[in-house]
Amino acid sequence: MIEVLESLVLSLADDELLIGHRHAEWIGLGPILEEDIAFASIAQDETGHAQAYYQLLTDIGLRTPDEYAFRREPSAFRSAHLVELPNFEYDYGLALMRHFLYDAAEQVRLEALRQSCYEPLAGLACRLLREEKYHWMHAQLWIKRLGCSTEEAHSRLQSALNQLLPYAWMLFEELPNEEEIVAAGWMPPSTELHRQWIARITPILEEAHLSLSPPRPDQLLPLQGARRGARSPYFEELYAEMTEVVASDPEAEW
C-alpha cells in the first residue's frame, strides 16, 4: 500500500516541481517588472509545494525531498507532460495559459484533498490552498484582461489554449492503482476532478471570449502514460539541466 501512496504523492509533487521550474525560467525576463515579481513568487510557491509533498513521503521513512527532486532516476518521475513543456519562444500568452490551466487543476485537487482520509495529505492541502488563492486571482485576471483586449492578444491566448488543452486534459489521466486510492479515501476519482476542473475554467474562458473544444482522442493518445512513467520528449533536457550541478559531484552537499 505504501507504493500506492508514494505514486500518488509523486504525481502531485512532480507536477509542482516542474511547473515551478518552468515558471522560474521567466525570472528576469517577464513582460514588465511588476509582473516579473508576481510570477517569480508563484514559481517559488509551486516549488515549495513540491518540497512539502515530498516531505510527506520522508515522514513515512521514504526518501528526502532533495533526493526525490535532484537525485532520482528519470524513469521514476510521474509528472504530467503539461509541466514538462518548455517555454518555447517565450510567449507570455503560453506561460499565462499554462499557469491558468494548471492552477485551476491544482485548486480542484487541493480542495478535494482537504477531505482526504490520509490526514497528513489533508492537512497539507489546507495549507497550500492559502497560496493557491493568489495564484488563481492572478491567473484569471490576466486571462480575462488579455482575452478581452486586442485581437493579437486574443488570438495568442486562443492558440495557447488550443496547444495546451490536450496536455492539461491529461493532468487527470487515471492514476495507476486509482481504484485503491479512491477506496482508501485518499483522493476522489480523476474523472470527478476533471469534471470540476472544466466547470472551473469554462466561465473564465467564456468571459475572455475563448473557445474550449475538447481534444480529440488522437491528440490525447500520444500523451498517455505519464503517471506510469512515460516521459515527454522535453523531459530529458529539463532533467539534465535540473540535476547538472548535483551530478557534477555526487558526494557533495550544497
Binding site: E25, L29, I32, L33, E34, E35, I37, A38, A40, S41, P86, N87, E89, Y90, Y134, M137, H138, L141, R145, E241
Partner: protein, 127 residues
C-alpha cells in the same frame, strides 16, 4: 560566444535579431500609489508606487512587490493622478505664528501649581 545561460541558448538565434525599438510613452503603463495596512488597528502607510494597466491589476501586482515579506492585512492602491499635494513652498502653512499651546496638553502644565498655592494660602498661618 555562445551564451552560458541555458534559457538564453533556447531563445537563440532570435535573441540576436531583436531590433532596438524604443519604448513609447506609457509603454510601461501609468502609476499607482500603494498603501499598506500592516496590522488591524494601524494606519495605512504609503510604501511606494508601481506601474499597472488598471486598479485591479495594480492590486494584484502590488501584493507581491510590496507585501511578499512584510506583515500586511490589507492593500490599497490609488491612481497617482488622483492625489493632490500641498506645495513645499506652502510648508509654512503648518507653522503657527502665535502661541497655540492652549490646544495642547503641554499648555496645561501649571494647574497643579495653582492648586498648591491655593492650599498654601488656606493653611492656618503659624503665628
Amino acid at each position: 560566444m555562445a551564451s552560458l545561460d541555458p534559457r538564453i541558448r533556447r531563445a537563440e538565434p532570435e535573441l540576436w535579431h531583436i531590433p532596438p525599438l524604443p519604448l513609447e510613452p506609457l509603454g510601461h503603463w501609468q502609476t499607482y500609489e500603494v498603501f499598506i495596512l500592516r496590522t488591524r488597528g494601524s494606519h495605512a502607510q504609503h510604501v511606494g508606487s508601481l506601474h499597472a494597466p488598471d486598479a485591479e491589476m495594480a492590486l494584484i501586482l502590488a501584493k507581491e512587490q510590496y507585501a511578499r515579506r512584510s506583515q500586511c492585512v490589507a492593500l490599497w492602491v490609488v491612481p497617482t493622478d488622483s492625489i493632490l499635494w500641498t506645495s513645499p513652498e506652502d510648508e509654512d502653512l503648518f507653522l503657527p505664528a502665535t502661541d497655540k499651546t492652549y490646544r495642547e496638553p503641554q499648555g496645561y502644565l501649571h494647574t497643579r501649581e495653582r492648586l498648591n498655592k491655593y492650599r498654601d494660602r488656606l493653611k492656618p498661618s503659624a503665628s
